[in-house]
Amino acid sequence: MTRCPAGTGGAEVAMAELYVKPGNKERGWNDPPQFSYGLQTQTGGPKRTSLTKRVAAPQDGSPRAPTSETSGPPPVGHPPPSSKASRPPPMGTCPATGVELQTSPVTESEVPMEDVLRPLEQALEDCRGHTKKQVHDDIGRRLALLQEQWAGGKLSIPVKKRMVLLVQELLHHQWDAADDIHRSLMVDHVTEVSQWMVGVKRLIAEKRSVSSEEAKEETPTMAPENQTVPGFQQSS
């Protein structure tokens, strides 16, 4: 999950990243629901119920007959036990992310395109000396495509809002976080973003590499990247 920079409505966007949509019933009978990238990558807390228990069949062979509240076919119009009865509800509180939770309709304030495009173009400019010309041009082409689609109203609000967050992370040099947002957009909104997002992805990588070179020039020694732990042990 992304951190929420203050004052950009990040909290709503973060919530909106945890959603479940129904599956494609037209193409696949009983297609399961679709979970957003945010939900799928949650490591999540301990499971509330682990559904793996079984009941042994009785040895004498007769089927169990659990007591049932309603005997015989229930009369139509017979209501369920109401909440006002002393019986407590069987489950605890509803979880924060339930099935059918849609993105909450947030303030429909339009996201200014320049907030996203300017920093990206600036980042590209910063890479000019470092990146191969062809790659540079290719990224530039894709940013132009992003601009065209944005201006043409082809991008949805969630995509725009998440791009704002991505740019924030990029400006703060949080490469992994920016990368994660790009991934979440590719997973959740591939149809909208696939043509240009790979350019943004490459831009993040180039900016990261430019910055680490600049850092190297300042500090002569660098810690080795990979710490391998010999004889890693784990109990069974």
Partner: protein, 657 residues
């Protein structure tokens, strides 16, 4: 180290090769299916590690191997889909045999820098992602026109041959996945499964039984040869088959089964089931590494009283003989070492041992037998690792210490191991023979460990260690793994593929689905997989591994229809409806492959998924015999668990058996 039975070592030295992903893509798809597949592949480029190598082969009537370059012009090599080629011919035609020199890339030296190897056809993601995204985006449907009443000409057999040959010639003996995406059966060339005339349907189990499957033997042989070649090269093959009709999984199943690759079956690439299952292949663990691992070899060593009979799982034999190898083979036998080219944290092998007693010597009291499992593999971080598990158990005499053996019996593991054996045999033996064999094993177990008076079935008792075991066998006999005629050959192959590789908990779910009951009477509770569990005021959640079924009892369904869940004073009913949905969601979020999701109610057409799984203790034949009207009668002539147990007891206590 007495307190650890499993230790993993990380190998520091040696070259570390990048992971390799070779996409083999069928272009004979419908427009929106192809578009959805293209988007999934483009998305996957964002999920792959930057230094992974990626390649693309597309096929339809012809097979095209795409040369990936950073220049503007894209080239490809085109092969006829009708002619099979040897690996050497493929490597020659792709120009691999002359210039296979690794390209060194000069970079500021770092202590663990490795020479960077790539090829024109397999390039690192960080270099090629933009061009490959465009290349994928521009893929068109196979241009050869398909006339009315015909199937598209699909050269899957040659496409796979070329993929295997390409990897063999460029990166043998390093972790690589060949990922085949197909939307229909192979219809031309070696490995074809059906002709291109739509009026000739693809083979069913009945056709196979009557020896009426024209292409089956030859096609199976073609894919078996490819699978063995791939396993020898240390690579694995995945099959992602999405179509409404069969795609030839029966003939191609050895490709994932022998190499440890995945088999995914869906209705269309434009479904959540495919898209999310595919995404989950790239899921990461706590360290940010992929869960997949490659190129494993497993060696088993035993103390002298034990011999290895064989293994059943996604592996091939390495043919390593030795004193601990038994002559009696169970599964893949005749060896103490196997190769598993693709694996993940749930991959599980069933390994079978034999106790040998030299010269009828008594087993020493308090003596221990020991087994050691040594697995070498390539971790997804590209490190080589070795994992060693050592276990020891006390010996017990079967005559005098039967109760000790009984107390140590793991009925769940035993059920899965027997089931794997049964399903393994079912691949080559007649169905009824396998069932008879399973029954005989169960009867012998009951004779040995049951407490009873001879000829007195009513006296028969099994201890708690066996409380679930006969039930497991009952459900196994009715399962789609052994009862094939309700499914297509492709579906059976799909179910069996997953059964042969999953861990204990998931395998048990497949044998005997889990059933939980939700009601106002308390928290959700497990209930018997029995028709008596289907009640009007309960909601049931059934997990068969391949399907999650939520079933509303008749009264619940009526209340929902009346809208009580929307009224504030019936908020507890709203919670009741939501509870199984939340639990289902937890399962759906984690499982690979993603299951189908069925939300149905009493009288619904899809209630059949529940009704066909439960033990039919009440059928139209015996409803009145039990004298109660609880539960839903099942319209079937299947034997019920009660009848099964009665017969079992009779046979166990009989002197004649």
């Amino acid at each position: 180290m007495p307190q650890f039975s499993t230790i993993e070592y990380v190998i520091q030295r040696g070259a570390r090769s990048p992971l390799i992903f070779l996409y083999v893509v069928d272009t004979c798809l419908e427009e929106d299916d192809l578009q959805a597949l293209k988007e999934s592949l483009q998305m996957s480029l964002s999920l792959l590690p930057p230094d992974a190598l990626v390649g693309l082969i597309t096929f339809g009537r012809m097979v095209q191997v795409h040369e990936l370059s950073c220049e503007g012009i894209s080239k490809s090599y085109v092969f006829r889909g009708t002619k099979d080629l040897t690996a050497k011919q493929i490597q020659d035609m792709l120009g691999l045999t002359k210039s296979a020199m690794p390209m060194q890339q000069a970079r500021p030296a770092q202590p663990q820098e490795q020479p960077f190897v790539s090829s024109r056809f397999l390039q690192p993601v960080h270099k090629i992602d933009m061009n490959l995204t465009d290349l994928l985006g521009e893929l068109q449907r196979d241009p050869w026109p398909v006339t009315q009443g015909k199937r598209p000409l699909r050269s899957t057999g040659v496409a796979l041959s070329i993929a295997v040959g390409l990897l063999e010639g460029t990166f043998p003996n390093t972790g690589a996945r060949i990922m085949l995406f197909t939307g229909g059966p192979p219809t031309q060339g070696p490995g074809m499964v059906v002709g291109d005339e739509l009026k000739t349907p693809i083979r069913s189990w009945h056709d196979i039984e009557k020896d009426n499957a024209r292409f089956m033997k030859k096609a199976t042989k073609h894919y078996e040869m490819l699978a063995n070649q791939t396993a020898a090269n240390g690579h694995c093959i995945d099959i992602y088959a999405c179509a409404l009709d069969q795609t030839g999984l029966l003939e191609m199943k050895c490709c994932p089964n022998l190499t440890g690759g995945y088999m995914v079956m869906g209705d269309s690439f434009n479904t959540s089931l495919f898209k999310q299952t595919f995404q989950r292949i790239f899921s990461k663990d706590f360290n940010g590494d992929f869960r997949m691992a490659f190129g494993a070899t497993l060696e088993v060593k035993t103390s002298r009283e034990l011999k290895i009979a064989g293994a059943i799982g996604p592996c091939v034999s390495l043919n390593v003989k030795g004193p601990c190898v038994s002559e009696n083979e169970l599964g893949v036998g005749g060896t103490s070492q196997w190769k598993i080219c693709g694996l993940d944290p749930t991959s599980t092998l069933g390994i079978y041992f034999e106790v040998v007693n030299q010269h009828n010597a008594p087993i020493p009291q308090g003596g221990r037998g020991a087994i050691q499992f040594v697995t070498q593999y390539q971790h997804s971080s590209t490190q080589k690792r070795i994992r060693v598990t050592t276990i020891a158990r006390n010996w017990a005499d079967a005559q005098s210490q039967l109760r000790h053996i009984e107390a140590a019996f793991d009925q769940e593991a035993a059920a899965v191991l027997m089931a794997r054996l049964g399903v393994f045999r079912a691949e080559s033996e007649e169905g009824p023979d396998v069932l008879r064999w399973l029954d005989r094993q169960l009867i012998r177990l009951c004779q040995k460990f049951g407490q009873y008076n001879k000829e007195d079935p009513a006296s028969f008792r099994l201890s708690d260690s066996f409380s679930l075991y006969p039930q497991f066998m009952f459900h196994l006999r009715r399962s789609p793994f052994l009862q094939v005629f309700n499914n297509s050959p492709d579906e059976s192959s799909y179910y069996r593929h997953h059964f042969a590789r999953q861990d204990l908990t998931q395998s048990l779910i497949m044998i005997q689905p889990i059933l939980y009951s939700y009601s106002f009477h308390g928290p959700p509770e497990p209930v018997l997989l029995d028709s008596s569990s289907i009640l009007a005021d309960r909601i049931l959640l059934m997990d068969t591994f391949f399907q999650i079924v939520i079933y509303l009892g008749e009264t619940i369904a009526q209340w929902r229809k009346a809208g009580y869940q929307d009224m504030p004073e019936y908020e507890n009913f709203k919670h009741l409806l939501q509870a199984p949905l939340d639990d289902a969601q937890e399962i759906l979020q984690a499982r690979f492959p993603m299951p189908r999701y069925i939300n149905t109610e009493h009288g619904g057409s899809q209630a059949r998924f529940l009704l066909s799984k439960v033990n039919p203790s009440q059928t139209h034949n015996n409803l009145y015999a039990w004298g109660q009207e609880t539960g839903a009668p099942i319209l079937t002539d299947d034997v019920s668990l009660q009848v099964f147990m009665d017969h079992l007891k009779k046979l166990a206590v009989s002197s004649a058996s």
